[in-house]
Each structure stands twice: as structure tokens, then as C-alpha cells.
């Protein structure tokens, strides 16, 4: 089931331009913290790629680079002409706007929606809120919501953008299993309908297998791609199905090795995992 990167890549680069392409991308923070080390990865159009990796291995960094929020220290990133939407690891809602207004702002900027009226936007925002099971809470302010509710608003806002590429950083981390399942279905539906390209960071291996066309494993600091798993299970998949569980446990094992390799030095005081 595990297939090394080399074998996989050629089969994907067969003709059409990928939606996102990272070519030997490295990122150094400050003077000496190497967060990403020559990462090469591409996401095809309409592909759903899940990113797995230990805490602090550089997943968020990678998403920031792809989104153009930060500059790579070396290497090249190409996102073509597609519009990019992103869900941050934190909800990052605007505290001065109501929940609905947060989403409306995204709708307003979206070029295709420029001509929409205010009322249309409000209705669309209400629909999106219904979709994330927050119907009727549009008038609340972000601080009046629970952690998971905020995360769902952020999801609604990202979906409101109507982008071609969707970057998601642990979007369902603060949700209970059931709400998560429901949102998996919604996300999959939208991904299909809109033919989105998705780069999806998660710590939940089952979630990755449930959603992804491909699961990419990053090593710990510095982050590099160590493994890619194409997921060929037929959709719709269920998180609690045996196949998903099986595949997930195989990936988990590989991940476990990786995390352990990194976690080891921490037991010995003095030897640190940073590039010092």
C-alpha cells in the first residue's frame, strides 16, 4: 500500500498543469531554524491531498507559502492562476464583524460575486451557516461562539470564497466526531461540485484516508516529504469503515516511526530537535 514518492510522481505529471506545485521549496525562519527542506509536491486540479505530519513539522508553514503569505527561502512555488482560499489553524475571524458579516465579506470580495446585492450576500451567508450547522447564529459575534463553532464559521467563510484551490489547516480539529462526519460529507460534496483542488492538513489519519485522493507524509523538523499514499478506496467512504481503518493504521505506523525518531532526543536533556 505504501508507495515511494518517486514511483508516483511521473504518473501524475502526465500532461496537464497541476493546481499547486512546490519545487524543492525550503523555508528558514530567522537565522537557523530550517522548517521545510526541499519539499517537492504537487496537487492536481480537482485533487484532494491530505498532509500528515508530527506537530511542528512544517505543515502550516507549507500552507502559508502556498497561499503566498510568506516567502520561501529557496525553491519555487506555482499556483497557476487559480484563486486560493485558506482556513487557518486558528479561526481568524474578524472580531468587529458579526458571524454573518464575516462570511459576507468573503462573498463580497469574490470577483464572480461582485455584482451581488447585499441581500443576496446575506442569504448566501445564511445558507453557508446552515451548511455548517450554525443556522440562525448569523447575528452573533465571534466571541459569543464556542471554539468549534468558530471553526465552522471559518469553514463557511473559506467556502464562501468560491476559490479554485482550498488550503485547510486542521479545519475540523475542534469538532466532535459526529459534526465532523457531517462536515466531511459536505466538504466532499462541494469539492466534487466545484472541482476544487484541496490541500488538507490534519492529525486525524482516518480523516485523511476518508477524504484524500492522496495522503502525503511529512517528516519532522526539518519537514520533508517522506511518503505519499494514493487512496484508491471508492467514494463515498465512511470514517468508521474497516478499509479506512486498516489503511489508516498502516499510515499511522509509518507516522509513528517518524514521530518516535524525532521524539527520542527529547528524552535526553540537552539534545534538542532544533537546528541549533
Amino acid at each position: 500500500m505504501t508507495a515511494p514518492t518517486q514511483e508516483l510522481r511521473p504518473s501524475r505529471a502526465d500532461g496537464h498543469e497541476p493546481a499547486v506545485r512546490l519545487d524543492a521549496v525550503s523555508k528558514v525562519y530567522g537565522r537557523e531554524l530550517l522548517a521545510l527542506d526541499r519539499v517537492t509536491l504537487s496537487v492536481d486540479r480537482g485533487e484532494f491531498v491530505c498532509l500528515l505530519g508530527a506537530s511542528g513539522c512544517g505543515k502550516s508553514t507549507m500552507l502559508n507559502l502556498v497561499a503566498g503569505l510568506d516567502h520561501a527561502t529557496a525553491g519555487e512555488i506555482d499556483t497557476g492562476a487559480g484563486r486560493i482560499a485558506m482556513m487557518f489553524q486558528e479561526p481568524a475571524l474578524f472580531p468587529w464583524l458579526t458571524v454573518s458579516a464575516n462570511i459576507e465579506l468573503a462573498l463580497r470580495v469574490t470577483s464572480s460575486a461582485k455584482s451581488t446585492t447585499r441581500r443576496e450576500r446575506r442569504e448566501r451567508a445564511a445558507e453557508l451557516l446552515e451548511m455548517v450547522h450554525l443556522g440562525g447564529l448569523g447575528a452573533k459575534r465571534p466571541h459569543e461562539l464556542s471554539g468549534g463553532m468558530r471553526q465552522r464559521v471559518a469553514l463557511a467563510r473559506a467556502l464562501a470564497q468560491d476559490a479554485d484551490v482550498l488550503l485547510m489547516d486542521e479545519p475540523f480539529g475542534a469538532l466532535d466526531a459526529m459534526t465532523r462526519d457531517l462536515l466531511h460529507d459536505e466538504l466532499e460534496r462541494i469539492w466534487r461540485e466545484r472541482e476544487l483542488s484541496v490541500l488538507f492538513v490534519t492529525h486525524n489519519v482516518r480523516e485523511a484516508v476518508r477524504l484524500g485522493d492522496r495522503v502525503v507524509l511529512l517528516s519532522s523538523r526539518p519537514g520533508t516529504v517522506i511518503e505519499e499514499y494514493p487512496i484508491t478506496l471508492p467514494r463515498p467512504r465512511r470514517t468508521d469503515s474497516g478499509e479506512v481503518a486498516g489503511l489508516a493504521s498502516a499510515i499511522t505506523d509509518r507516522l509513528r516511526q517518524e514521530v518516535l525518531r524525532h521524539a527520542q532526543p527529547a528524552q535526553r536533556p540537552g539534545a534538542t530537535g532544533t537546528g541549533k
Binding site: L69, R83, L93, F94, L105, V109
Partner: protein, 285 residues
């Protein structure tokens, strides 16, 4: 369930909420005002005691009775209200222009890097310039007109407002900037939808400081020229001083204090509204 729920809440209401409600009608106003009243009484008492000790002769340091009497006299004169009206009109006009100028300058300087390097520090430099230094230029540009006074007021207040905005921009949480950027907001749109609202608290406090600068510059500026028998607070204050009219001076100081306090309360109300909306009023315990 919904019916049950609202019933339950109604029950809680009876316990707690309505209690709180009742408090909010009379007692809450009282809770907000008694400290002020006692503070005023305290100040008056101390003042009277100092006067009674005979520390300084009454004509140099008059007691509260004299001063309040003087204030009462002035309150009885139509001229006083003219003065207040003239000064407040000038203050509001000047402040409004200063807000506009400050906003534009602050916005430009905070976001355009070369502008900031070129003029950023100049703003504080201008802020430290005493009003009298501008008088010759004001008269040169605007002759002896109301505009000359406004010029001094704007030069006094605008830097403060710009600085408030710049500080707000500088302390906008990067994550919100990133969120705005991802939403496709750029330049002006980013400014309008993210940076400006995020800077609001700091901008508000800049406005407050700007008001103080505007008012002080106005007090000085009103001495620059007295146009066709128009009296003003600044002029009355200075007259009282020129005439060594201690009770008059103190009466005018009280007037200025009261106006300052009223304005502060307006800013305070805006500030509280803002904090409530942002959820910053949740205190611990």
C-alpha cells in the same frame, strides 16, 4: 424543547435577571454617579479647608463659594453662552478637519513604507511644536480670520490622530491581516475592511488625545485674534488671567473641565460600545 427552554429561562429570570434588570434602572445610574459626586464634594471640601486656613489671601486663591458664585454669575449672562457656543463650534470644526487630515496622513504613512521613513517621525515632531510657533504662519496664510484659528487647531490635533491610527495599524494582529489577504483584500480594501477596524481602539484613543490637543491649541489660538467682538472661552480665560481675576479664572477652568469631562464621556461611551461588541468587556471573576 424550545418552549420548555424559554420557560426555564423565565424561571431564571425571576431569580436573577429581573433582579439585575431592576438594578439597572435607578441603582445603576446611582452606582455610576455617586463616586463622581463624592469626588466633587471631597475636592470642594479640601479646597474650602485650604482657603479657611488662610494659606493665601482670598483674591489670589479664592474659595469654592466665591468661585461658584462667579460661575453662577457668568452662567446668568448671555455672553457666556455665546462664548461657549463660539468655542465649541470652532473646536468641532477644527477637530473634524483634523480627523480627516489625520486619517489621510495616518493611512498614507502607515502603509507606504518610503512615506513612513520620510515623514513618520515628523508627525511627532509636529506634535511637539507649540501653537504659538504657528501663529505667524497662520496669519500669513489666513489673515485674521476664523481659518487662522482652525489652522492652529488642525496642526495641533491632526498629528495625534495620525499617530493613533499608525499605532493601531502597527499592532493589528498579523493573523487578521493574513485572513484579509486570503480573502482577496488588497491595499485600500484591506485597509478599509481589516486594518481600519482592527485599529479602531487605538484610533479612538488617538482621537481622544487629538481632542485634547485640539482644545488646547484652540485655547491658545483664540488669543490670536478676536474677531469683531466675538467672545470665546479662550479669550475669557485669558482675560480673567490678564485681569488677575482669580475667581473668574477658576470659574472658566471649571467650565473647561466640565466640557472636557462631557467629551470624555462621549468617547467613553463609544469605547464601551466597541469593547462590548468585540467581547472585551468580559472580566474575570
Amino acid at each position: 424543547m424550545t418552549a420548555d427552554l424559554s420557560q426555564h429561562i423565565a424561571g431564571l429570570d425571576a431569580l436573577e435577571l429581573s433582579h439585575r434588570e431592576r438594578r439597572s434602572v435607578a441603582a445603576r445610574i446611582w452606582a455610576r454617579t455617586w463616586p463622581m459626586f463624592s469626588a466633587i464634594l471631597l475636592v470642594l471640601a479640601i479646597w474650602e479647608v485650604v482657603v479657611l486656613t488662610g494659606w493665601r489671601p482670598e483674591y489670589v486663591f479664592p474659595g469654592p463659594v466665591t468661585v461658584l458664585g462667579e460661575l453662577w454669575n457668568r452662567l446668568g449672562e448671555a455672553e457666556f453662552y455665546d462664548a461657549v457656543a463660539v468655542t465649541i463650534r470652532r473646536a468641532i470644526t477644527g477637530f473634524a478637519i483634523a480627523v480627516l487630515v489625520g486619517l489621510v496622513i495616518g493611512a498614507a504613512v502607515s502603509r507606504v513604507r518610503p512615506l513612513r521613513a520620510a515623514f513618520g517621525s515628523l508627525i511627532t515632531g509636529l506634535q511637539t511644536m507649540p501653537s504659538i510657533a504657528w501663529f505667524p504662519l497662520a496669519i500669513l496664510l489666513f489673515k485674521l480670520s476664523e481659518s487662522a484659528i482652525l489652522f492652529v487647531v488642525v496642526l495641533g490635533a491632526a498629528p495625534s490622530i495620525a499617530n493613533g491610527l499608525i499605532a493601531g495599524v502597527d499592532y493589528t494582529p498579523p493573523i487578521l491581516l493574513r485572513a484579509g489577504h486570503i480573502l482577496g483584500l488588497r491595499r485600500l480594501a484591506l485597509y478599509r475592511h481589516v486594518i481600519l477596524p482592527a485599529s479602531l481602539p487605538s484610533f479612538l484613543s488617538g482621537l481622544k488625545q487629538g481632542w485634547a490637543f485640539a482644545w488646547r491649541s484652540l485655547m491658545a489660538g483664540e488669543l490670536l485674534v478676536i474677531i469683531a467682538h466675538q467672545t470665546s472661552i479662550g479669550e475669557q480665560l485669558d482675560n480673567a488671567r490678564e485681569l488677575s481675576d482669580a475667581p473668574g479664572l477658576m470659574a472658566m477652568m471649571i467650565v473647561i473641565l466640565v466640557i472636557g469631562i462631557v467629551v470624555d464621556m462621549c468617547f467613553g461611551a463609544a469605547d464601551n460600545a466597541l469593547r462590548r461588541r468585540w467581547g472585551l468587556d468580559q472580566r474575570v471573576g
